[in-house]
């Protein structure tokens, strides 16, 4: 039949492309998430959701046919980064349509089948969610209009396939098979990705339309060989071509519906799909011809030969799938338009008969409990319907006339028999094809004869019978298609094949005939030889075929063993060597290397740019004095930190104070305030923590030489770092500032932010998003601290009460608990009374923050200090009995408030966190600025209070817990209502 475009499906209302294509791609993913969210993982309703979604998708893709029947291309584009050529482009043409129909319709049938196949004990929701996700990934792959997007979906199918193969992850073989499939196809996917980048580079665009329109640009590029090899690596690994075929039989550990769907009908076809997709722009080269044709031919023969020796029915089908994929690859390699037509035709045919065979094997497995061909025989009497269906499907697989497999196989034979000037090609192709044909007839007979004929089975544990009729229904439909296409191809598949072919070949589309009878010609003779030869191979040897162990002749050809050895070597031995050579588990050398490298990089970058440093022109004696003290404090803190922690901490405070004064000195009052307050809070924190550290006193006999040397080394590195930072900051400070963004903030703080304190306006308005992230960090830190301390176990030597408290207790029992009340009564009273005052100061700082130094952070820390003062004055118990502080609520409300302020701006149409402001006239107080930024700042305030208080009291509380010492198993003694436990 010639290409006939007059066959229309009638005037269907056309579906808007921008709706239909995204729906096809996105609906499966949405449904997948929906199913995953289902109540309980054994939720049976998942099957229904999946079935309905698959049905909708099938109908939708079928309904799209009229829009692409005449060679039109539907495109729906969602722009993402157009500058880089990165868009989400969905593109549907004849070939993509054919695949979309295979994916959705076979997917639908597989879901129906799985409804009966899967056991109620299996986590069914996960299965269906993955199946849907796979459907989406595969549809995205075939509809990709952008080649990078194509590579992404390609990897996505590998990932979902991994999860599906490993569905029964309690089984070791499933995990191994899944991992092998992922590594092989994932690596291929990476290669494909790189080749897509190269192709995009050659063409100058990543849009598939541009690539397909590029003519001979790719083939003529000097990069073609590299791009081709990487491209083929991707395609061959995915389609299980020799020598990467071994992952596919191992993937048969997946549930049978998955094998039927992914590993025969759809996913493994992705490799040949992409060969077909890029065929027009890549096939016209000798390299393509030799590599693709002969890889395909080798796979074709190897797969068929190996299939003959399989005992596991799924193994047989797996190798048969490999062989058929080899056939398609061979056709695509030959490079003639007619061969490409045959390839596309065989893709569709193989999907139908192989999916039905897998399902039949699933039924056999389900009903007899085994897939071992040696244990099975004579099943025809027990399950006549299933037997009939499987026999017809196997006949299609063998290429028996009046079935679809025959037609495409004849086209294949025709193409191989074409005369080629090269003698080797002229002989190897037809002979190889006929040989493979014989082998496939033989393994098909083995399948049919071994399972359905012969004496009744004796080694089965149960008497097999027909499965539920509905479980057979999908097979019936598929077998019906095999028959219909085989008998009346012109009407059944003609128009669809024509659309697919034209989308690939375009103007090159040749005349081809789909009729069953072509006269008595060479291809027919080849077919007859294959039929007879297959029988001749099988009949005399079938007993020996059943019992032979492994595959004769090719036992040594084990890619799998190479793969496994490589995997062990690379991930175990090499990894161990590398860790041994370059790794350390000790922190100090790691930090040393990091600092050293940073210093080296800094010196390398700054060395040439240092320029001439000017001499200092001014010296401020007061600042000099401040830093004389500050510097001495810093060095002394470093020196004292080992043996005199308290002294070191006080000295550190000295350096902090000098920093604080410097901030004030150089016109940064906000910083000075914040630094001072953070300093206080940090000091209180560390003071609370000191109690849990071990006592340490200098060893009298001095430090060993190694330790001293290490110390000298560290001092030198630290000195160099200090010198470098000093030089760098001096060099920067003495040259004039570049034009920055500061002027913008200064000019607009009042106009747009409504505040005169520019720093605060920046924090709560211009850079509010930063602040949002920052308070989130603070909240997370507080919760982490809280979480860590809830399970805090002090070391055994600090579990006892501290020495000071014990001494006090000896003096006056009970006084150790509450030092402040007994010995510092007047300061404690003052601290008590300070509470409202400090709170008022905090609120004042918060209110004025927008216009004067202050703001949420400062106010928050002041507020938390108010609480801390109470702890200091009254002791932990006293405060917890009187004050109900709910820091978790403060954190939550603070974050919520800040977020709501931001969202409020969005609701009003402005970007996230835009503030609005006005001045309100409040009696007595006067004009008060009312910016929404104040509400945001209120959120910041609440969060800072909550976080700081939570950290401080969680730590403070440890001292009154009866600590459970690390390592002891004594039951926990609860002290009162211990909410911190």
């Amino acid at each position: 039949m010639a290409i006939d475009s007059s066959l229309r499906t009638g005037p269907l209302p056309s579906i808007p492309t921008d709706f239909a294509l995204p729906l096809l791609c996105i609906l499966p993913f949405l449904a997948s998430v929906f199913v995953l969210a289902a109540p309980g993982e054994k939720y049976r309703g998942a099957a229904w959701v999946t079935a309905v979604v698959a049905a909708i998708l099938s109908l939708l893709s079928l309904a799209l046919f009229p829009s692409i029947a005449n060679g039109e291309v539907l495109i729906s584009r969602i722009e993402w980064i157009p500058q880089l050529g990165l868009n989400l482009t969905l593109r549907l043409d004849g070939l993509a349509w054919l695949f979309a129909v295979l994916i959705t319709c076979i997917g639908f049938l597989v879901v129906l089948y799985a409804r009966y196949y899967m056991s109620p004990k299996d986590p069914i929701a996960r299965f269906h969610a993955l199946l849907l996700a796979f459907m989406g990934a595969m549809l995205g792959l075939v509809m990709s209009g952008n080649i990078i997007q194509l590579a992404i979906f390609w990897e996505l199918t590998s990932l979902v396939s991994f999860l599906l193969i490993g569905y029964w992850y309690h089984r070791g073989d499933a995990r191994d098979g899944a991992r092998m499939a992922l590594i092989i196809t994932g690596t291929g996917g990476l290669a494909l990705f790189v080749s897509m980048l190269i192709i995009g580079r050659i063409v100058g665009s990543y849009e598939l339309d541009d690539v397909l329109a590029s003519g001979s640009l790719i083939v003529e590029s000097p990069l073609y060989p590299v791009a081709l090899i990487l491209f083929l690596l991707g395609a061959f690994t995915k389609s299980a071509q020799f020598p990467f075929q071994f992952w596919l039989p191992n993937a048969m550990t997946a549930p049978t519906p998955v094998s039927a769907y992914l590993h025969s009908a759809t996913m493994v076809k992705a490799g040949v799909f992409i060969l077909t997709r890029f065929w027009p722009v890549m096939h016209d080269h000798q390299l393509w011809f030799w590599i693709v044709t002969y890889t395909g031919l080798a796979t074709l023969i190897f797969g068929a030969y190996t299939a003959l020796f399989q005992r596991d029915l799924k193994g047989l089908l797996a190798y048969s799938t490999i062989s058929h994929l080899g056939l398609i690859t061979t056709l695509l390699g030959m490079g003639t338009p007619l061969a490409a037509v045959a390839a596309i035709f065989h893709i569709a045919n193989h999907a139908t008969f192989k999916a039905s065979l897998f399902m039949a094997v699933g039924i056999i497995d389900h009903e007899t409990g085994t897939r071992d061909v040696r244990k099975l025989s004579g099943l025809r009497k027990y399950m006549p319907f299933t037997a009939t269906l499987a026999i017809i499907a196997s006949a299609a697989m063998a290429g028996v006339p009046l079935l679809n497999g025959f037609l495409s196989k004849e086209m294949f034979f025709t193409e191989t028999a074409e005369f080629d000037p090269n003698v080797f090609v002229n002989l190897s192709l037809p002979i190889g094809a006929t040989l493979a044909g014989m082998l496939s007839v033989a393994y098909s007979i083995k399948f049919v004869h071994g399972v359905f004929f012969g004496p009744p089975p004796t080694e089965l544990e149960k008497v097999p019978h027909e499965p539920p009729a509905l479980m057979r229904r999908p097979i019936e439909i598929l077998v019906l298609i095999c028959l219909a296409v085989g008998i009346i191809p012109g009407i059944t598949i003609g128009p669809y094949l024509a659309a697919a072919v034209r989308s690939v070949l375009g103007a090159e589309t040749p005349y081809y005939s789909l009729s069953v009878w072509h006269g008595f010609n060479l291809p027919l003779i080849m077919s007859i030889i294959a039929m007879v030869g297959g029988a001749v191979i099988y009949v005399p040897y079938y007993r020996r075929l059943l019992n032979v162990d492994g595959v004769p002749l090719t036992r040594g050809l084990v890619g799998q063993r190479v793969f496994e050895r490589l995997l062990v070597t690379a991930t175990n031995r090499w990894a161990r060597h590398l860790v041994g050579a370059f790794g350390t588990q000790r922190l100090q050398p790691q930090i040393f290397v990091v600092i050293f490298l940073a210093l080296a990089a800094g010196i390398a970058a700054g060395w040439t740019r240092m320029g001439n440093l000017p001499l200092p022109d001014s010296f401020d004696p007061v600042l000099g004095l401040v830093w004389l003290l500050g510097g001495i404090s810093a060095v002394a803190a470093a020196q004292q930190a080992k043996f005199h922690r308290l002294a070191s901490m006080i000295l550190m405070g000295g350096a902090g104070l000098a920093t604080c004064l410097t901030f004030a000195w150089f016109s940064a009052p906000d910083l000075a305030l914040t630094q001072l307050l953070a300093e206080i809070a940090t000091t209180v924190l560390i003071l609370l923590g000191l109690r849990w550290l071990p006592k340490r006193s200098p060893v009298p006999e001095g430090t060993p030489l190694v330790a001293r040397l290490r110390r000298y080394r560290d001092v030198s590195l630290a000195g160099l770092v200090g010198l470098a930072t000093a030089l760098a900051s001096y060099a920067i400070m003495t040259r004039s500032a570049p034009e920055g963004i500061s002027d913008f903030f200064l000019a607009n703080a009042y106009k747009e932010g409504g505040g005169t304190n520019v720093v605060n306006v920046m924090l709560v308005d211009f850079r509010g998003f930063d602040t949002m992230g920052e308070i989130t960090v603070l909240g997370v830190v507080a919760l982490t601290v809280f979480g860590l301390l809830r399970r805090f176990r002090p070391a055994s030597d600090s579990a006892e009460r501290p020495e000071q408290q014990r001494v006090l207790d000896d003096y006056a029992p009970g006084s150790g608990d509450n030092v402040a009340d007994d010995f510092l009564r007047i300061p404690a009273l003052i601290m008590n009374w300070m509470f409202p005052v400090v709170v008022v100061v905090a609120i004042y700082m918060l209110m004025r923050g927008h216009d004067l130094p202050g703001g949420g952070f400062i106010a928050g820390i002041i507020m938390s200090l108010a609480f801390i003062l109470q702890y200091l004055a009254g002791g932990t118990r006293w405060v917890e009995e009187r004050l109900r502080i709910l820091p978790l609520l403060w954190i939550g409300w603070g974050l919520l408030l800040a977020l709501l302020t931001g969202l409020g701006a969005m609701v009003l149409g402005a970007p996230f966190l835009t503030s609005a402001f006005a001045y309100a006239d409040i009696p007595l107080i006067g004009k008060v600025p009312m910016a929404t930024a104040l509400i945001f700042d209120l959120g910041v305030f609440a969060l800072v209070v909550g976080a700081t208080v939570l950290m401080l009291i969680a730590l403070a509380h440890q001292s009154i817990r009866r600590p459970k010492v690390a390592g002891s198993n004594k039951p926990k003694q609860r002290v009162g209502a211990d909410k911190w436990n």
């Binding site: 100090q588 600092i595 200092p616 600042l623 830093w627 500050g630 510097g631 810093a634 803190a637 470093a638 930190a641 922690r645 550190m652 350096a655 920093t659 410097t662 901030f663 150089f666 016109s667 940064a668 009052p669 910083l671 914040t674 630094q675 940090t682 924190l685 923590g689 550290l693 630290a718 770092v721 010198l723 930072t725 000093a726 030089l727 900051s729 001096y730 920067i732 400070m733 500032a737 920055g740 963004i741 500061s742 903030f745 200064l746 703080a749 009042y750 106009k751 304190n757 720093v759 920052e774 603070l778 830190v781 601290v785 860590l788 301390l789 176990r793 002090p794 070391a795 216009d851 950290m951």
Partner: protein, 111 residues
């Protein structure tokens, strides 16, 4: 003036880095604080040092050249708060590690 601050930054970072390389967790926490002082001052100095520049706007029509650079200040303000959070977290982690391993060595081993 610049020289004073540069030396200050150098001394702070040298003391801090030396402590970062020490084996005891408490030394590291003090070191981190000292390093963050140095870094904060360094960031502030990126806006160049200006004494007596007004940090608060006095009206919409003011000359922006008279004011202190707000950008480093805003950055440092964030850095101070995050530094506080980091110190707190590290302190609690080191206490927990000390409780679990019985040692205050950074590797949790040895005495």
């Amino acid at each position: 003036m610049e020289l004073t601050l540069a030396i200050a930054i150098g001394v702070l970072s040298a003391s801090g880095v030396y402590l970062l390389l020490r084996p005891r967790t408490f030394q590291v926490i003090i070191g981190l604080s000292l390093v963050s002082y140095a870094v904060n001052l360094f960031i502030l100095s990126m806006g160049r040092l200006r004494m007596d520049a007004a940090p608060i706007l006095s009206g919409a029509d003011a000359n922006i050249a008279d004011y202190a650079d707000p950008v480093p200040q805003a950055l440092v303000l964030t850095a101070i708060v995050i530094g506080f959070a980091m110190t707190a977290l590290f302190l609690v982690v080191l206490l927990a590690a000390r409780g679990l391993s019985g040692s205050d060595h950074v590797d949790g081993k040895g005495d």
